[in-house]
Symmetry: C2
Subunit: 345 residues, 2 copies
């Protein structure tokens, strides 16, 4: 059974190709009984018009291209899941692609998506992307561009972000509320904006609560790995630096630190209260469970789709397109690693 085309339907029903096409698209100038006849038959034989051929006329593919810098990563795969679920509800398909943190590959992927004539490109920019002319071209060719998480100030388009600084502030403040006075921070690398923002949120929270920032309580976890968490905890321990709170750049980092503390009989949260970041699956399974920040990736995906659909409509109506910067609020999830009230009062 070959795929049916308009011509086959038309012949079968003794109608013209035009009429069948119009009936399918519910044009007002087709007789009701004709429409019914066509719909009944196409439903029966399960006919759907060829998407590629339609595109040549409509210029709409109903496909969204999503580019993430890395895919084997909790945060991004969750967001992609969110986009896919919402996209399906609104009749879009999603092509997911992975730039593997390479500027060259990112450029190539964008170009290929343009060649596919996707209706929208959602991207989180690679760490090594130095300039954004490839993304400017997306905008120029009237394709809706939405940048999320890792954005660029040089692009006029809608952005969806997380307020890492605020989230880090919440996390640190929570530790202070639990009675912590000297709070260490295992930060991410020096360059990534998210690492900088979380660091700044930490600093701001300290400042607002009159706690002096101490440089010796800051360590770096470049890869945000479990091992780095362990190693940094050990490093502080070996240098005999005392502290009673830890705000870790990520949950694995927090988990690594916990592993070290337990080995050395440091009680969590009594001796050191801990907050991680991003609500990884693991954080509900460690002993103790890890307090963390939840980003609600589903909400991020939802918000991107919402902005996309809005811009598509504005484009269609030839209205001015209004770009929007959405900030998705993060939520502190308090678990065992920082629930200290019982001990301090």
């Amino acid at each position: 059974m070959q795929n049916l085309k308009l011509k086959d339907i038309a012949e079968k029903l003794d109608l013209s190709i035009s009429t069948v096409s119009k009936a399918l698209k519910d044009y007002p100038d087709v007789k009701k009984t004709t429409k019914k006849k066509v719909l009944k038959y196409t439903k029966k034989v399960n006919f759907k018009p060829n998407a590629q051929a339609s595109f040549l006329r409509t210029q709409k593919t109903k496909i969204i291209g999503v580019i993430v810098p890395t895919i084997i990563h909790h945060f991004y795969s969750k967001i992609v899941e969110g986009i896919i679920l919402i996209a399906e509800k609104t009749g879009y398909m999603v092509i997911t692609r992975c730039a593997e943190e390479s500027f060259e590959k990112e450029k190539k992927l964008v170009k290929e998506l343009m060649q596919q004539n996707v209706d929208g490109v959602f991207i989180s920019i690679s760490n090594y992307t130095r300039e954004t002319s490839h993304l400017q071209e997306v905008i120029n060719s009237k394709t809706t561009l939405i940048v999320f998480d890792r954005i660029s100030k040089f692009l006029s388009c809608s952005n969806v972000m997380i307020n890492d600084r605020d989230a880090a502030y919440q996390a640190t403040k929570h530790l202070i509320d639990q009675g912590c006075n000297s709070i260490a921070h295992f930060r991410g690398g020096l360059l990534p904006q998210i690492a900088v923002d979380r660091y700044l949120g930490y600093r701001m929270a300290l400042e607002d609560h009159n706690i002096k920032y101490r440089k010796e309580l800051l360590e770096i976890c470049k890869n945000s790995s479990e091992k780095e968490g362990y190693d940094n905890a050990k490093k502080l321990y070996d240098s005999k630096i005392k502290y009673d709170g830890l705000f870790a750049f990520s949950d694995p980092t927090a988990a690594g630190a916990i592993r070290f503390y337990q080995k050395n009989n440091i009680d969590i949260p009594k001796d050191i209260a801990i907050v991680g970041f991003s609500n990884w699956e693991l954080s509900s399974y460690t002993t103790p469970t890890i307090s963390t920040i939840d980003h609600s990736s589903l909400t991020i995906g939802e918000e991107m789709m919402r902005l996309f659909l809005k811009e598509i409509t504005q484009l269609q109506k030839n209205e001015k397109i209004i770009f929007q910067n959405s900030i998705i609020p993060s939520k502190l999830i308090v678990r065992e690693s920082s629930t200290r009230k019982l001990f301090i009062k």
Copy 2:
């Protein structure tokens, strides 16, 4: 800047559309210098032919559609990641879709992918899918169909599977090797094939080692949740049933059981040795870490792409297409929850 088309290039270079098209596809009957001129210019202006228009002639979209029954699930999202990474290496794009365990939605998604004229459909069949005529149609329309994990015996196509029975056998045998004599099994629901297979593997391992199967050591974890693991451990405990090993249907289930044991001062692995299943992220972060079975999702994705590319080539050469059943071997990962040697000798 609008998207360029063949016509623009041809005009610019004072050539015909045909010649430009042929130069781009490296046809042998185009003068070398002409080819060079065309390639140089198209590279400069970053021209790529419109994919939809090409399709109308070539019938190739270079898109693969992947349908998973559920996406917010470790196992499937890993496989999708694998497919995407390998697909990109071979010039394919991947549309991921989620059937949400609905037969109706699955049918709809398949139809839409066919409408998109994808070159291949990779699917893991929903639990509620009662018949597979929608997938038979994929085969009929000469689109490569590859079914993975949840397969159907009624389809003539290549399959990629995991040998759950063998993996469960390995897991159980490992517990026996650790000195366990009475091994409980928290199985999945009664119907899913994977639950049945793991149960049978468990039974076979017991039998091969002359350990009598005891019905009272079998509990059901329908949703494979942490809570069910906890509850079942409690149930056995409350009924005073003694056992020294546990083979759990999944890592979260194992984690739940561990939580209960720890609360009741049952030592792991000394009192009860535990093996989980599927190597969830959490299994390396619990205390103790959980021994588990690793499926190597990346290998599954790789294998699907390999089969797909093979069939595509056979199709092109008009050769007979040879379907293949690939079974991806699983690997036992031994961690703390079952490392007992120290205690028993």
